[in-house]
Symmetry: C2
Subunit: 542 residues, 2 copies
């Protein structure tokens, strides 16, 4: 097994969306709707020229001629090209000046609207244009279109606006732009290579992304009623637009439904829906849904495509990436499972807006974990961001989730089956699992238990000379800043010790302590004497 490299591409760091195209193709109205939909500022070059000069465009043409107008227009283009997060609707002739295009492309994606000449003719009659003042015949429009064709071709996306309703045109551009702006992390393991997309408004692009990666046209959409009510419609509509036949596989919410029994019901649904070897299972939900749907994908017809659409922070940064899928056995979590890498992971940060704040904090525990074991830069970034303000906006979250996915991709690329470095991901999980198990999975969210577990692992690392007191302080402060518990009470330490012993046996003696060495570095410690562990547990679990 070789060392694989993770790779991240941000398709687009550009923040503006620039509409180009002939007059009468709808740039102003499409621009207005897009700006509203994407919550961006609308800038119209003609209007900017008018307000800078105090004259209307026809007046400038009449008084000073086209050359003067183009010169004013170029000044405006130079200025607005430095704006951020704007939809820029341009005049039809902006493209004639190469320099204008260069400026606009610096921070903007060019989208060209195109209509048939007859449509343009009927539209411009409603609002007269200086350049067609003398001759608005179809022949003249056709001639001008032909001249400008080579400029319009420089757009990244060309959208036909002759027949479709405005809304459809706007949706198409918005979806394309969401995808264009998303970040992409490549995962490369022995079990398969795939991309993770991270960004806003990505649910509507799921169909587009799947079409390129899934051969068949049938899919089973596994979700729970709560998530389904919020997002299934958007996902289904995107999939259907791309030609998929979607069958629902609803599973009640809760860890107790991550069972062979639920798996049986999903197998039935898959057979019923006629899923074949080319079909896919789409997991829309948190860790429970991802693990369960992944187990179905791993075992139905000896393995079909899996697409993960994680809807919790925890699932986005951790469980949806890396191919671990499983259901629970009454005697233990994840006892029945497989390694089955997804074909695609889509993390839409918009869905985190509806996430229960406690669930959000729980996910943050895993984020902090990545900082401790792998990336001091991430850790320091979290210190800055979380200590300033505990809540985070999607734009704060995107780079953080991306970084976590990169780290996970790096780790599972080196060690898909957890024979080595992947074990580091278990920082905080030794005590964490025991806390969850001992309390019947009713008291702690996973990340909360992991937070207490990290605090205790840090203390063990201090007491064994691996980690310094100041570093432990930083860890505890960061966990607290994220609103996470660092200690708990009312749980007898004897029970926890017994639980860890059982866990160790069930995992083939491989449940070892992961201890931090310095911020960004950790190691696996094969075993620690009880007399060292017990007092630390008593310190954090009173």
């Amino acid at each position: 097994m070789g060392v694989r490299r993770e790779e991240t591409r941000t398709l687009n760091e550009k923040s503006n969306l620039v509409l180009i195209g002939f007059m009468g193709t709808g740039k102003s109205s499409v621009g207005r709707s897009l700006a509203r939909k994407l919550d961006m500022q609308l800038v119209d070059t003609d209007q900017e020229v008018e307000s800078a000069t105090g004259l209307t465009v026809p007046e400038i043409f009449r008084r000073y001629g086209e050359v003067r107008f183009r010169s004013e227009e170029s000044l405006i283009v130079k200025k607005i090209s430095r704006y951020e997060n704007c939809v820029i609707a341009t005049g039809g002739g902006v493209v004639l000046n190469e320099e204008n295009l260069t400026e606009l492309k610096r921070n903007g994606c060019l989208v060209c609207l195109r209509s048939r000449p007859e449509i343009i003719k009927s539209r411009v009659q409603r609002k007269p244009r200086p350049l067609l003042a003398r001759d608005n015949s179809l022949e003249n429009i056709q001639r001008m279109l032909q001249e400008r064709e080579r400029f319009y071709e420089k757009a990244e996306l060309v959208v036909e606006t002759s027949d479709d309703p405005l809304e459809k045109v706007v949706d198409e551009i918005a979806d394309w732009f969401a995808l264009r702006r998303s970040r992409q992390v490549r995962v490369d393991t022995d079990g398969g290579a795939y991309d993770i997309f991270i960004g806003q408004s990505l649910l509507s692009s799921l169909g587009t992304l799947m079409v390129e990666r899934v051969k068949g046209k049938r899919c089973l959409l596994v979700s729970n009623p709560r998530v389904s009510e919020l997002y299934a419609e958007r996902v289904r509509s995107s999939l259907e637009k791309s030609g998929f036949k979607v069958t629902d596989g609803l599973v009640p919410d809760g860890e107790e439904y991550k069972s062979l029994k639920s798996a049986e019901q999903l197998y039935d649904a898959a057979v019923e829906a006629g899923l074949d070897r080319d079909s896919a299972v789409v997991a829309l939900g948190g860790g429970v849904i991802g693990d369960l749907a992944g187990f179905i994908a791993a075992t139905y017809l000896r393995g079909i495509s899996l697409v993960q659409v994680p809807t919790t922070l925890l699932a986005q940064v951790d469980s949806s990436v890396g191919g671990k899928v499983a259901v629970n056995h009454p005697q233990g979590k994840n006892l029945i499972g497989a390694f089955h890498q997804p074909r695609l992971v889509v993390c839409d940060t918009d869905v985190l807006n509806t996430l229960d704040p406690r669930e959000m904090r729980s996910g943050m525990a895993e984020v902090i974990k990545y900082g401790v074991i792998w990336d001091s830069g991430l850790f320091e970034h979290l210190e800055r961001v979380l200590q300033a303000e505990p809540g985070m906006s999607p734009t704060d979250l995107i780079p953080i989730i991306t970084r976590c996915c990169e780290i996970k991709a790096d780790i599972v690329g080196r060690d898909e089956r957890e024979h080595g470095v992947r074990t580091l991901l278990n920082l905080g999980h030794t005590l964490g699992h025991a806390l969850e198990g001992e309390t019947g999975y009713q008291v702690f969210r996973h990340g909360e238990a992991v937070a207490v577990g990290m605090a205790a692992a840090g203390r063990l690392a201090v007491s064994t000379g691996r980690w310094s007191e100041p570093e432990q302080d930083r860890l505890l402060k960061l966990l607290e800043a994220a609103g996470l518990p660092i200690r708990t009470e009312g749980i007898p330490s004897g029970g926890l010790m017994a639980w860890m012993e059982r866990d160790k046996k069930a995992q083939g003696g491989r449940v070892r302590w992961v201890l931090p060495l310095s911020v960004g570095r950790a190691e696996v410690v094969p075993s620690l004497p009880d007399e060292l562990v017990e007092p630390v547990i008593r310190e954090f679990v009173r």
Copy 2:
């Protein structure tokens, strides 16, 4: 996915077992017991010398001296070295002549018996030896032992006979010899590389073979009551001798128990037995047991070691090799499964002695299939062997099973996941599955249905110009010589057509006809028109 090479090693084509060692180490009595146990002829060099010369060994020594004895002994060695299938007990001094050893090793494996000097002294007192006639002191024995040490070291196996009872010594040598004589086929796939051992009396060597391949010491022995009663004791004792803790996982006999329900019971047994990531599942049985146990191994703790000990011809030549594991869904066979390569496959041909003759013939259908799709030499060999006599002895079977395993290893090495050449293994299975399904798996053994399916596929190949009439005749004759059906009746062809259609859908439109091109070559035909298929089906299924 690269093309992998299969590789077969016969550790030993040598058919004799030669016992060497100092006088009094037990060569004669061990030789006698071994010959009886292994059903081989016993040859004792001293006795041969005596019967050739008409004198006892002490007489030759007395009358003519040691030199004359050694010369007679060498003549005998030269003669018996050309025998086949003998246990050869040699005189203690045979090794002194280098040429003797060279002769004996030509067709024999050298096993040296060794005892402590005091034991030897006490034993030789019971039966006086010429060489110790003058001085049978411990010192003299020690001196002679030391002189001969370098010759005894040339043995492949050294067995200590001072303390252990005769039976234990004999078992140890017999097990070693069985393994030494076995054939070994290497399988190399993306999902793992492993060896198949094929030979007689291999069950007792299972522990030895597993110890080298399985890290842990716990295993779940999955079997059915019928097979378990016959062979589980032998398997368990071999495993326990090698330090394994064996837990039974009994599943009732029958295809209907290859279910998720049985899987659940086996998961429970695995948890109960404390199986961990280093443990193994051992499948002792036919295809149902192999597939079910394999599914457990593939999914318990995300995959643990699987050891296949197939007890039917069908399982030995087909289902135990290649990593396809599955359970059935009410709507279709093998709908829930995985690819999980075993760590080891042990085919003991002795277990075929207790196989129902109909089951044996069923397995032969798959053997013939390998000849048709891959190896004209195998096909011709089967024509010779089966048309002479339908039954086969284990020694007939070993090279045939070995060849089938080589072919399967070659095919799955090239195409583990059946995206290409592995599909050829489905010759006869398109109609075969339909026949089995349409009759509720109650009428045909798998191989019987495949035999009718091959006959029909051959006819389709003739009618599409792929395969000649004489070749079709040879195929039908060979199937009949193996006691297999080539046609059947009372099953409406409409039902079969519908079944094939359903099968095709369930398999993602990938169930295609495999048609022979010439003996040893076949191809996959994406689809055939119903008007071609129906009359052929009506010809073979009246």
